[in-house]
Symmetry: C2
DNA sequence: CGCCTCTTTGAAGAGGGTCAAGCGAGGTGG
DNA sequence: CCACCTCGCTTGACCCTCTTCAAAGAGGCG
């Protein structure tokens, strides 16, 4: 698919392009390019010149960085309709890697920057999104700085379920449902600022306590959302 | 000072207003209002309707939130020329309190939002600032999630000195200099996700090791920036 | 079936939290 | 001017959570 079609895009109404009229959209169309990523494939490298920005159409990606001694910290997860990359910046401040097979709509940063500056409506959307992302990131700081391992994992599972269930469109009601974890245990540890062993132990304990079920490594069921919410602090 | 004068503003060239022409500036002038805050005074309360946004002219303020069990986490520090508040949002996602006597230039959010939407240049500045703030916040996540108490405090002191020395304009060279900490030990603990005791112990150890000097509670000298940089990871 | 990777589990240890007491600078009142 | 009080900070002792190190278990895939 080298000829993207914004008009037919799955995330058309949720991404930053939502407010554009059809003329603007086809202009954007002309500078964008679809790209598929396999799980594990890297899209951007930390410290590189910031050449790309992108919209996520499908899949989950991680933003991450490393300490001097090589420990990874995942700085954020990016889902369909989220924007990704560093417009108006020199270098990419974090690495970006696909956690699942993914589908993104990429732009050369220079093209995108120019387009954005000429289309305030897009720039406004981008601003709203960035502000929302900043709020989300700050909430994550509370988790990293002040929560116990148990609280961290409970918070993580609850948020993840909301994200996975239905693209975040509606809160999850009714029967507990099985869903796929897009992250390995190690990656969950890197999100929460824990070690893989601690994550694994917390999973086991929650399962033993009947709060969750783990049909397989990558599958989860939240049996007791109430109790998990309680735990999450 | 109820009649602000943007043209004469100390942070005129560094704040988001930097790119405005004089006509725009006087319009902004007419919707803004100067306000002085005493150290400890609260400007915004978490969860309140988002009614205000502001530019910091002078002083240091903190953004903070609390866990369910009452532990505070400082989400960010705001310095002169920084922007503060949540434009285009319903509620204030964190509390804002002055750490030192401060001087801010406040706007009714509704007024500011309208002005911003009508002046893409301002909105663009705001976007650049928000993106930079997001990068800074993400770097802080690495600190919270992956660093030891010692690394945290070393990082904190180094960054703080850069901020305090000269408004962040130039890197600090030459002789070690005494400067004022705008935060109490407890507040430092809340920034770093530690307890006051741990912060205090780390201070004492660094002093004993000759890395820093503490002429009084609120004064610091970084004697060995090299070594501290090493420690900070 | 066997290998490889990811995950789980166990045991030991350290870093930081908690609780409690002591210190000291600044402010107040005698 | 000094004694006293207060509040923030420091220091000590102990304990708990999470990390570290090590080994065994469980899927997945050739």
């Amino acid at each position: 698919m080298h000829a993207p079609l914004c008009q037919a895009c799955a995330i058309r109404n949720r991404a930053i392009c939502a407010d554009l009229d059809s003329e603007e959209l086809s202009l954007l169309n002309s500078i964008g390019r679809q790209r598929r990523l396999r799980a594990g494939e890297q899209l951007l490298w930390e410290g590189d010149e910031a050449v790309l920005v992108a919209n996520v159409v499908e899949g989950v990606l991680k933003l991450s960085t490393f300490t001097a001694d090589g420990k990874e910290q995942i700085l954020g997860l990016v889902y369909p309709s989220d924007f990704l990359g560093r417009p108006f910046g020199e270098t990419t401040p974090y690495g970006v890697e696909a956690l699942t097979d993914a589908h993104v709509c990429v732009f050369q940063r220079a093209d995108f920057d120019r387009f954005a500056r000429e289309h305030p409506r897009l720039e406004h959307k981008l601003l709203e999104r960035t502000l929302a992302e900043l709020d989300r990131t700050r909430r994550w700081m509370l988790l990293l700085g002040r929560m116990s391992a148990e609280q961290k994992l409970a918070s993580f599972l609850l948020e993840m379920e909301d994200r996975m269930a239905n693209g975040g469109c509606a809160p999850s009601f009714g029967e507990p449902k099985v869903w796929q974890l897009p992250l390995s245990r190690q990656q969950i540890a890197d999100v929460l600022g824990l070690t893989i062993e601690t994550v694994s132990r917390q999973f086991s304990r929650m399962k033993a306590d009947g709060l969750i079920d783990l049909p397989s490594r990558r599958e989860v069921v939240l049996l007791e959302r109430e109790a998990l919410t309680e735990l999450s602090g």
